[in-house]
Amino acid sequence: MRYVYCHPLFDERKCSHRFSYQLSKAFEKNNLQLERFDYQGTGEAEGKFCDVTMDSLQNDVKIKIADSPACLIGTRLGATIAFNCCCQEKQVIKTLILIEPVVNGKEYVEYLFRKQHLKDMITGNHNDLSNDKSFCNLEGYKTSNAFLEQVRHINIFETHNRINVETVYIACISSSGKVYHEYDQLVNHLKKNGIQVNVEIFNLPIFWERIPAMDYSVLTDKIVEWCK
């Protein structure tokens, strides 16, 4: 079985990098290998971020796993990309581990714009990208509006019927100790489809929003346990 990690995007990728590093080390300790990779136009990969689309992201995952049985682990938008891949692939992805997946694309995009707006206010930036209306600046990334439109259309509750996977684990990062309503809904939907679902709450800071110097072992050890 291959274990493939799907990064989130934008600053969430930078902030969660340390988590993915610690996760790969936890896998190593257990004689497993976590494959981390960058989608085209992100991280160390070739290409430009302005060319990224949901299709290109999902295609990159598809190429990465090829036709071998795999377990996909994703954080935030990476989790949603992994989820969508399970709606396309047949019998290849056995296990899906979702860490705070984006379930509603519209809300997610609004959230990204709110963050950008705050940064613009702090830095006095006017968010100008040479008057090119096909792109916008999101956390310093030249992002195509076509991609954002695809993200806006993300609605896991509309695609869950097509999902083809044996087991789904959902890691809910919540300091309140409660599972978010959306995840509860998702669990119920998936269970109705005959999929084995486990949801677990982790009392951790929102590590994809800032870079805490912290130990993620409570989450990484649990993920390794799920993968064994």
Partner: protein, 76 residues
Amino acid sequence: MSHPEFFNSGPNVLSYICTIPNDNKIKAGLIFVHAADGNRLGPHRMFVELADRLKNCGIASFRFDMRGCGDSASRK
């Protein structure tokens, strides 16, 4: 896609990526040092894109993760 390599810095193993001009004719070298909360990619991947452009101008670059950042270990 560039793959990180590792070097020892005291007790710590740090990850780095070295970008060399294609013809190996190096006019100059540049070391990227990221901010305390960053990694070798730089803010919004700026270091990656800059290293790629510099490569075409004959400038080699070295990007690394400080200890405890990115893919670098932190033992002390």
